[in-house]
Every structure is written in C-alpha cells, then in structure tokens.
Assembly symmetry: C2
C-alpha cells in the first residue's frame, strides 16, 4: 500500500464531497420547491458516505505505506502536506462522533425551513428553538474537537485554522481604530448622486456584463457557469467545474454585478489550483468534508474581495469600463460619467444589512456577529438574548436602530445552516486581499494592465502566489511567501483611508 | 434490528442513487463541457458507495429482524415485497464482483467519448474497440449473473425481469406478422402535406406548449421541471423531484413536443408512486442500482408511449388541442386544420433513425437491435461484424440502404453507455401501453375526458392501476390486475391497424 493507494481512497472521498456540492448547487438554482426534504436526505447520506470512506479500512491501510513513502522528504513537499492533511483529518474525525454529522444535517434541514418562515413573518420566536439547538450542537461539536482555550476557537478553526477569539479580538481592535475616523469623515461628506442606481438595469444585461468582465478577469466558462440566485455563491466540483451565481436584480444592486465579480474571484481560485492536486487531499477539505481547493475560507474570501473591491470598485476600473457599462445600459446611464458612477458605487452609509454594506462598514457587521457567536458558544448569553444583544450592538457600532428582527438578527442564512464560526473569514479576507493587492501593484505591468483592462498580469501573479498551491500551504505561509509577512491589517487600513479618507 | 432499521439502510442507498441521478441530469443539461472526466469519477464513486452501503453490515443485520417481521404476512404484502427485493439484490450483488461496477463506469466514460467522435466523423473503426470491450464486459457480467439459458437473458433481466431471448422472439414474430401488411398498405397511401412540419416553430414556444399539455396530463411542476436536451429523457430523485426534457427544435421535430409528452408520461409514473414507498426498496432498483419507482423499464415505457401515442398522437387529441397549437404558432399553422395536422404527425415512412421513427416502423428498429445484441452476446458475431449485419437487416426489414454508419449502427447512445439488454423494453412498452389503454377506454368517463381535454379520469385510472404500486408488483402482476391477463400483443396490433390500416 502506498501514496497511490491513498490517492484512490481520497479521490473517492473527493468525488463524494463534490457530488454533495452538486446537490447543493442544484438545490439553490434548479430544484423544484417540493424536493427540499428529499434533497436534505440525499446530501446527508452522501456526506456520511464520504466520511465512511475516509474512515474506512482502505485509507488506514494506505496510510501506512504513504507515511513510509514520504519519510525524508522536506516538510513542505506537496506529498508530505498531502499525507499530513489526511492524518489530521483522521484524527479529527476519530475525535468527533459519526452521528453528529447526521444530527447536524437533520437540524440544518429543519432550522432552514424555520428560519425562512421566521424571517418572512418577522417572528424570532419561531427560529429561537432552532438557534438554541444549533448552539447546543455547536458546543457539543466544539467540545469533541477540543484544543483548549475559548470553546469558540474550535469552531473558528473549522473555517480559519490558526485564528482564535483572542487573535480576532486583537485584529478587530486595530481595524475599529482605523475605520472609526474614516466613518466619521464619510458621515459629513456630501452625498453623491445615488438615484441612478435605482434606474432600470435589466437583469439579463447585468448578467451578460458580469460574464464579460468575469471572462476578462480570466474565469474560464468552459469549466464554469454563471446563474442567478437570491444569495450569490461560488461552488466547485473539482477545478474542471466551478460555478458562480449573482443576484437577479432590475436595478444596480451590489449583489448583482459586483456579486458576479466577487464570485468570479472565488471561482478563479478554484479553477487555478494545480491540476495535479485534483481529487487529492490538497484540493479537499477533509476536516470540514467539503470539496474545495482554497486553503482557508479567509484566503478564499481574499480572492473574491480582491477582484470585487480592489479591482472592480476602483476608480481605474470604471475609467476603463464605464463606457462598456453605458453601452449596455444606455438609458440608465446617459447622463452619467465614470467619476459620478464610481462615487455612487463607493458611497458609504451605515446600514442594517450585511450583504448590502459598503466597504467601510462591512467589517463592523462581522465584528458584531463574531462577538455574539463567541458569547453564545461560551454560554454567556442564550438564543433568546440574541435580538436584544444584536440591536444594542447595531446602535453602538453602526448608529442604527433595528426596526425588526427580519432586518436584524434573522437576516443571515448562516445560523440556520449550522455555520457557527465562519463570519470572521469575511474580515480576514478583506485584510488579506489588501495585503496581497498592495504587493501585486508594486509590479508596473500589473498596474498597466489594470489601467488598460488587461487582467492577465494580475491573474498570473495571483495564480503563482496563491491559487496554484491549493491547500498545500496555510494562509500564513501563502502570505509570508507572497508578501514577506503574516496577516497584517496595515495595507487594508491604508486602502480604506485612500479610498474613503479623501 | 427490524424493518425500520432496514429502511434506514435502504433509505441511504436510495439517497446515494438519487444523488447519482442528479449528477447525470446535471451532466446532460447544465454541466460545462470541461467537466466530463471529473463527473465520470463522481458518478462512479457515488454508485460504489451505494453498493457498499447496500452490502454493508448494517443491511445484513437489519435483514434478520426484517425477515422475522414479515413472517406470516401474505406473499404480496408491501412489506414482504420490500424485504424480498432487498434479499434478491443482496444475492445478485454477492454473485457479481464489486470491481465490475467501477470497470463498467470507467469503460462507459471512455466509450462515450469515442462514440461521440466516431459518430461525428462517421468512423466505426474508432468505436469498434470500445464496442468489443463493452460486449466482453457484458458477457462477463451475464456469466456472473447466471441463470442458465441464453447468455443474453441475464442482461435482458436487468431491464425487463421475466423476458428472455425466446420470449422476445415469439413476441416479435407476432408483431412482425401484424405490422408487415400495415406497412405495405401505408407505402401505397397518398402522402399528406408534410411541408408544414418544416416551417418555423420557435423552440421556446414549443416548450411552453409542451409544459401546458404536461400540466394538463397531471404532471406536477412543483415536483418537476422541463428543460431542453439533445436526447430527451426523464429522471427522478424521489417522487418529489422528477425531471423531464425535450429536444430544442425550431421546426416540428417529433422529439420536441411529442418528446415532451413522452417524458411527461414517464414523469407521471414516478411522481405518483405511493408516497409511503419513498426511499424504500419499492422505489429503488437495488439490482440495477438506480433510484427509480417504476417496476420495469418496459412498464415505464408503457406510460410514456401511452401519453405520447395513445393520447398525444390521436385524432381526438388534435381535434381538441389543434386550436391551442395554432394560437401558439399562428404563422406556421394558418392554413392547416386538425385533420391535416394529425395526418402529418402520423405519416408512416420507413427511415434510418430510431428516434425519428413513426409508430408503425418503430418496433422494427428495436427488433433489429435486439437480434444483433443477442448474437453479439452469444459470440456469434463480433464488434467488427456489426456494420454489415446492421445494414443487411435495415435492407431486409425496412427496405432502406444505410448511407453511413453514423446513420446506421452508430446512431444510438446505448452501447457506449454499457446498456446492452435494454432495447427490448421499448417494444414491451408499446405493447403494454396499448393493452392498458384498451382497458382504460372501456370507461366512458375516460373517453369523455379525452374528448374534452380533461385528463384527470385517465390519470386517476393509471395511478390506481399502475403508478402508485411502484415496484411492489411485477409488470405481469400489474397487467393481470388491470387487464385480466399478462402481456398480450393483440391490443397493440389492433391499435396499429385502427390508426394505420385505413
């Protein structure tokens, strides 16, 4: 038994996890509404089969030979990282009970339905018992994972290995100190023309525009597709099939065209993982049981944010592409120019909804959620305390009164999906994006490309620095190799100051 | 351990098989072209996981209790049939080697690509080695299944349990004797106006029309959807998600609107299996490893043929619906009436292509294929002999010269999909459809409904007689309960004589 045998087993695990992702994609884009319950069973059984294969005798047997085979190789050799990823996953799943997966899946199916109803009818009480059970199950999960420290740390580690409550609180403090004065300044700035964003932008033409730009960024439509969904997302079934979505909107809603750019950034990461890693542990999250090539959720988000915000929301982008946009929407944009349009799409206004938030206030929404989750998992507050805690934090951090739970603590899908611990990765992604981009634009050819609409140089730099490595290197290793240091909030704050401090 | 435990295991097997079907549906409708190889791996691994779960310790343990639980129940009780289906499947898979599944899947992936290229370039030599390997693997499979008699019988039994080479040859002889004089008569009949079928029928409007009629038949779009594909098909992932397709055509191609009717018939069967059978052995083909509720491929085809031909191709259907069609296609149909249109869509002309064949010649295409497959599996001819044998049979049976292998033995997808043994089910379906329909229309309310466009009475009759039973009863039991006898070609020949003998 050898590494080749191990790859047969992990290949099958990856196949099953990718199959599960196809079921998820289908459920959000194509599935008839009557099929939700059946689909819940199907996804749960496929994930269960993936775990069974991973924990089966075939993997155990193959591991022995694989471990011998990597002896003496450098500690960062791809094969070493590959085998270690399997070993870590085997240890992780040995600690966590098998039936927890199914219980999580069953709760998710029930909680999701309850959340949809609760949000539609603005009745937190309908969701509260499911949130309480989700928190209880997450606490049980965290205890099984172990690791000491704050119990929330174990959950954070599922999405962003290496981060903890303590490290996040330190990061957030730095960010808050930098963002606060920019926000104060933005509040007193004159309002740009925003009416244009509410004019008619036919959805199909928005999609066509997003497709054109995604293709210009380098997203390969022979190995992907772009569809409409209520909540935009990216999902991959190996690098050969990486799908993205955007919101169907008839006005200039950020989750529409900007959502398309954002998801294209995620898609570029997945499409450009080294082909040799396909169906291996270097393109599969064997702990989280997810067929994904990116090394962490935060690293993934750095790519979406980079293309959405550093490229797509820049003045130079609209200087180059505003004429294309006006050609696509001549009626809506007849009286606009690139500068006025850029001012509209970078306008700062503290709001209630995370997914609609501007670049400057976005992280405040994240910090609020991370702090709430930490207190829930620590048992400092219960599910019933969430609305009051939420509303108080919104008042304190964003100066907004929450008019209804539907616009407050019921707005996100995450808790009803059992995803506790993931919110921090959005802010990690923002910070990492700025750090990578700051380094990338030291290359004059990349800047020239951004000015002229040629995204190949930036694409090439990111492919070499980030994408091709898949899960071989940690987020911190990627950052150190590309920028000479670990995660550093300074470039992000500099970016925000440059864009919003003027 | 009990029947309830057995249902947990079989439920998971059904989930996996339905997941595999979602992957198949997606690959034919949505998947980007670069993903074919990855998808092949995914489908193979999901099926492998389904077999592993079925043959695992959980099923074996649960079987003991389940067998005790059904002791003393009548032999046709649903629970008895359910447990017996599992027992049969366990015995089947114990006889057939596990690696055969993966070898079949791998060969299918390679053969399919070779077939596409061979057909496009009209080069049988490119496909011949894959056909030879497919035949060899099928022979190995047949030997493992065993059962005595003709080796082809084992393969037929995968699709149509109970049929054999001998039973099919007897049936075919009867059909041939009845069809031949009708064909001779049709050859000398005056040709109707066919030019209308080549006029412009915009594809989207054809789809809308097919949707309207499918809904009128009773197909539930809350548990289904209709899309375009090159080859129309129906596929289900439990009764809650039953999808159908039709061909995108800009003229009146039979696989477009009539294809929609046909697949809607398949869909009605799946959507109306007793809800209590969902995720059980009564809605899963545990031998063929396919998540399907219909009791045999032939029984399934009887439902598609019944709605396509007995309902959709009838003079009374167009008397009722031609005005709707003309409203949808006013330009193409301005100078047509219902009778002339019906004459066009029931015109008989022996052709080269099975999927374009009229009702009268269709079975001749099937007989040719069944006979060829029987000889291949018996080793009487080899893959290299197929083109000559095909062309000779086309000359003899249909009086047509085959101008190219692309229009001849390379036309069907079945061999490249490893499906040897399934062709007979099309003819079984034709025969069974006529037999059921003949009985159904003894009910005056059903006839009245057909005349007035109210399909609820026929839907109700078929639901009670066929659909709701799922896989509980065999095809022959279904027929005996509904019509008082087993499969009988007389009603089919009477139908053909009534429609084509005038």
């Amino acid at each position: 038994m050898s590494l080749a045998d191990l790859r047969v087993e992990i290949g099958a695990v990856n196949d099953l996890l990718c199959a599960s992702s196809v079921l998820v994609w289908d459920s959000r884009t194509m599935m008839p509404k009557g099929a939700a319950e059946a689909r819940g069973h199907q996804i749960a059984s496929v994930i269960e089969a993936a775990r069974a294969r991973l924990m089966g005798a075939g993997t155990a047997r193959a591991m022995e030979g694989a471990l011998r085979e990597i002896e003496g190789l450098p500690s960062d050799a791809a094969a070493v990282r590959e085998v270690e990823a399997v070993r870590r996953a085997l240890a992780f799943h040995a600690r966590t009970p098998a039936d927890l997966l199914r219980r999580k899946a069953e709760l998710r199916a029930a909680a999701n339905g309850a959340w949809i109803e609760a949000r539609a009818s603005n009745r937190f009480d309908l969701f509260e018992p499911y949130l309480a059970r989700t928190v209880a199950l997450s606490r049980e999960y965290a205890a099984a994972i172990g690791g000491g420290g704050h119990p929330y740390d174990a959950l954070i580690g599922l999405y962003e290995p290496g981060e903890t409550v303590a490290s996040l609180r330190a990061l957030f403090e730095t960010l808050r100190a930098g963002i606060r004065p920019l926000l104060d300044r933005a509040a007193s700035a004159p309002e740009p023309r925003l009416d244009v964003l509410r004019r008619s932008f036919p959805a199909e033409r928005q999609r066509d525009f997003a497709r054109t730009i995604a293709a210009a960024f380098g997203y390969d439509f022979d190995r992907g597709r772009l569809d409409f969904t209520v909540h935009p997302f990216e999902i991959s079934f190996t690098r050969a099939d990486v799908r993205i979505t955007m919101r169907r909107a008839e006005t200039f809603d950020p989750p529409s065209i900007f959502g398309g750019f954002h998801e294209a950034g995620h898609g570029l990461y997945e499409q450009n993982v080294d082909e040799a890693y396909t169906r291996t542990a270097l393109a599969t999250d064997l702990v989280g049981l997810y067929g994904v090539g990116g090394t962490s959720f935060g690293a993934h988000e750095s790519q979406s944010r980079l293309w959405e915000n550093h490229v797509g929301r820049s003045a130079r982008f609209w200087a180059r592409h505003f004429p294309d946009l006006r050609a696509a929407f001549p009626d809506a944009l007849a009286d606009m120019n690139a500068d006025a349009f850029h001012a509209a799409v970078t306008h700062v206004r503290p709001g209630l909804i995370r997914t609609d938030a501007d670049e400057l206030t976005y992280d405040l929404h994240i910090m609020l959620r991370v702090e709430l989750e930490a207190r829930l998992i620590a048992g400092e507050i219960g599910a019933r305390d969430v609305p009051a805690a939420w509303n108080e934090a919104m008042r304190r951090d964003l100066g907004r009164e929450v008019p209804s739970d539907a616009m407050g603590c019921l707005q996100d899908i995450h808790w009803s999906s059992g995803m506790i611990g993931s919110f921090c990765t959005y802010t990690i992604g923002n910070v990492m994006a700025a750090q990578l981009f700051e380094t990338a634009v030291r290359d004059a050819r990349i800047v020239q490309g951004l000015d002229s609409g040629d995204y190949a140089p930036l694409n090439h730099w990111l492919r070499e620095a980030v994408w091709r490595h898949g899960r071989r290197f940690t987020r911190e290793e990627i950052l150190a190799q590309a920028t000479g240091r670990g995660l550093d909030p300074a470039p992000y704050l500099a970016h925000l100051a440059a864009r919003y401090g003027a």
